[in-house]
């Protein structure tokens, strides 16, 4: 500590008193030294990882995310561990690939080749940690190392962890991409390079500039590990089939599509995925292709189910011309949760409808529309029109099958306690009236006493009604009400059935 006194920050005195309570950031020692007791991973002889950073030169228009993904997909030829560092960088872990491509030089030459193939010139750098590689690449660009199309220039390659800090020290702090505010404050105390910031005391640095920045430094020099999300190419399924004969009938089309769906099934099975959207394009001779898009509520992978759904869709399709070719395109792949099949057949003792229920809803919705299939539930409200609501059908999987009510138990305390009609009119329908009594195809006979429902004044849906059970001439029981306020009209609201 003595030998660093000259570089210590002016506020060192005030922090010293608090430091002993914070064992995580010991005040003795500087950023170059590992925290007390921590393992010194940077001292290991051979680097565990070797990262190749590609800093794309296309500025000021930053490369689009799509371009970055395209480059990432091509870079996966070199190593499976590719991660994107938006907006303009790409990271490759190349340790395992060195012997395949002829060392660092070979790998970076291959990567530069990929960049030039996509016309995205970039600066390449190699270092044992991802952040160091990125910092080197950015520095290379700032310092005017030409965006090379061959290999990484030797000044931007560090393979020995022991040399890492020495190589990083002269780099300007801007290469770390810290907030401008932090950089300004560091500049004010005369810290402008990575080497200088690494020499600051840990505790003071953490307190003044935040632990996030301290962690960045630890990751930069390899003192703590740096986990990067692996970039994975979004795979899609796309197959096209030219037909020998032009086809017009739906059945024949489906027969042609079936092998394609089979391939799709294998494709999805291999990836343990399902699709949520599937497009089938039918190409014609003169007119634009007919598109038939299937959207699913749950990821599906079974060719038979997909074929059945597609058949539903196709049967509703009008073909303007005979079909010459068909093409199947999947939407994004979605991981599928696999479930085991049931032993019992549906309807048997113990056999639920777990497997068939979502499939049935799916099939009905494909043809009738999403709103056509509903569940219902009660709402605790005295107004009949507000006492129920539509809901998503409950999936009768094994999960809630177990909590079904015992068959012999008395019906749950029914609410409301009074008998209600099984059918409710969407809107009360006004009834004719003679001598103060309602009529509907003849006079209605009121049965029993009135049930008064007077509520809802707080939400604008105020009702004040006297409900009666009434019987019409044919003996049908109706649920009618009379307004309690003038003009005391009669309305039909439900049918008992």
């Amino acid at each position: 500590m003595r030998h660093r006194r000259a570089l210590e920050l002016p506020f060192q005195e005030s922090t010293a008193a608090q430091a002993p309570q914070q064992p995580a950031a010991p005040r003795s020692g500087d950023l170059l030294r590992p925290p007390a007791g921590g393992p010194d991973r940077a001292a290991a002889a051979a680097p565990a990882e070797l990262w190749l950073a590609v800093h794309l030169a296309a500025s000021p228009p930053q490369p689009a995310r799509q371009d970055l993904e395209r480059l990432g997909a091509r870079a996966q030829r070199l190593t499976p561990r590719v991660s994107l560092d938006p907006p303009d960088s790409l990271l490759l872990e190349v340790k395992g690939s060195l012997h395949l491509f002829g060392g660092v030089e070979g790998v970076s030459r291959e990567m530069a080749g990929e960049c030039s193939h996509l016309r995205m010139p970039g600066t390449l750098a190699v270092a044992p940690t991802p952040l160091a590689a990125l910092a080197l690449a950015r520095a290379g660009r700032m310092l005017g190392v030409p965006a090379s199309l061959s290999a990484a220039s030797a000044s931007l390659v560090v393979t020995d962890p022991a040399q890492l800090i020495g190589k990083l020290s002269p780099l300007p702090l801007a290469t770390l991409r810290w907030p401008q505010d932090t950089l300004d404050r560091l500049a004010r105390i005369g810290v402008r390079t990575v080497g200088e910031v690494l020499r600051l005391p840990r505790a003071g640095f953490a307190r003044r500039f935040g632990t996030a920045q301290l962690q960045t430094l630890d990751r930069l020099v390899g003192r703590s590990s740096d986990l990067k999300d692996r970039f994975e190419v979004r795979a899609r399924f796309r197959r096209r089939r030219e037909l020998i004969h032009e086809l017009e009938s739906h059945a024949a089309l489906l027969a042609v599509l079936e092998p394609l769906l089979g391939e799709l099934g294998e494709f999805l099975e291999a990836r343990q995925c399902g699709v949520l959207a599937l497009e089938c394009r039918l190409r014609h001779r003169a007119v634009p292709p007919t598109r038939c898009v299937l959207r699913l509520a749950a990821p599906l992978a079974q060719p038979a189910q997909l074929a059945a759904l597609l058949a539903e869709r196709l049967s509703a399709l009008v073909l303007p011309e005979p079909v010459r070719a068909c093409e199947l395109r999947s939407g994004p792949l979605v991981p599928r949760v696999l479930s085991s099949g049931g032993l019992w057949q549906p309807g048997e003792q113990g056999g639920g409808a777990a497997a068939q229920a979502p499939e049935l809803i799916e099939r009905l919705r494909v043809r009738l529309g999403a709103g056509a299939v509903q569940g219902i539930r009660t709402v605790e409200d005295h107004r009949p029109e507000a006492a129920w609501e539509v809901r998503e059908p409950v999936n009768s999987s094994g999960r809630d099958a177990g909590r079904a009510l015992p068959a012999d138990a008395a019906p749950a305390a029914s609410w409301p306690p009074v008998r209600r009609p099984f059918w409710l009119l969407p809107k009360p329908r006004q009834l004719d009236e003679r001598d103060g009594l309602p009529r509907r195809r003849g006079p209605l006979r009121l049965l029993g006493e009135a049930e008064r429902i007077e509520t809802g004044w707080w939400d604008g849906g105020e009702v004040a009604r006297n409900y009666y059970t009434a019987q019409d001439m044919r003996g049908v029981r109706l649920w009618v009400f009379r307004e309690r306020e003038p003009p005391h009209r009669w309305f039909l609201h439900g049918i008992f059935g």
């Binding site: 549906p346 309807g347 229920a357 009738l368 569940g375 009768s396 079904a404 009609p421 003996g475 049918i495």
Partner: protein, 208 residues
């Protein structure tokens, strides 16, 4: 003696008028009706037709005890309502003991309602995901009803088709046809067609 005789009559070579009724059934909840129906209740699989004299004649009250019982079984499947003419009123169903989480309401589009109604009815019957499917269709050809009957048997589902009273004149392949008309405090049920069931009208009381 009676036991010996009944065991003898169980012999597969002996055919009796009511033996065709050896099917799995659900109690209707009305003892008088159970007695009249073949097998002592609604069939667990197959298509039945209910022909009310007018909408609301008590045709739903007739079925609700069975629906309530079947939706409350632990292994219950869906109870689907295909193309209901009005909104089924959830509080009333819950009040009768129907487990609402098993209820599925399927409403076909306005245009070509009849066609998509028949289609949805067949799909729900065939899927095996439903215990009971109620459907309201204005017109159905015998050929279509035959298809529905086969679909119901395949899915081990009870299909209930509500048709107007006038449809009684047409022939139908349904296993059971029942006419319903309102009566004092309940409904009068007539078995128009039943394989081995009783003849004549049965009076039922619904009101508590």
């Amino acid at each position: 003696m009676a036991r010996d005789l009944s065991r003898l009559l169980e012999h597969p070579a002996i055919w009796r008028g009511r033996s065709a009724a050896r099917i799995r059934t659900l109690p209707t909840g009305f003892p008088a009706l159970d007695e009249g129906l073949p097998g002592g209740g609604w069939p667990q699989a197959g298509l039945i037709e209910i022909l009310p004299s007018c909408f609301g004649a008590g045709e739903l009250s007739l079925l609700l005890p069975a629906i309530a019982a079947i939706t409350r079984r632990p292994e219950a499947r869906w109870c689907a309502w295909v193309a209901p003419p009005l909104q089924p009123f959830a509080p009333a169903l819950a009040g009768c003991g129907v487990a609402l989480e098993r209820v599925l309401v399927v409403k076909p589009q306005r245009k070509e309602e009849e066609k998509s109604g028949i289609w949805a009815f067949e799909q729900t019957l065939r899927s095996g995901a439903c215990d009971i499917v109620l459907a309201w269709l204005r017109s159905a050809l015998p050929r279509q009803i035959r298809r529905l009957q086969l679909a119901a048997e395949r899915g081990a589902t009870l299909g209930v088709l509500f048709r107007p009273r006038e449809a009684a004149r047409d022939s139908s392949p349904a296993a059971l046809r029942i006419a319903v008309e309102p009566a004092a405090g309940g409904a009068r049920v007539t078995l128009l067609k039943s394989r081995g069931g009783a003849r004549g009208a049965i009076e039922l009381l619904f009101l508590r």
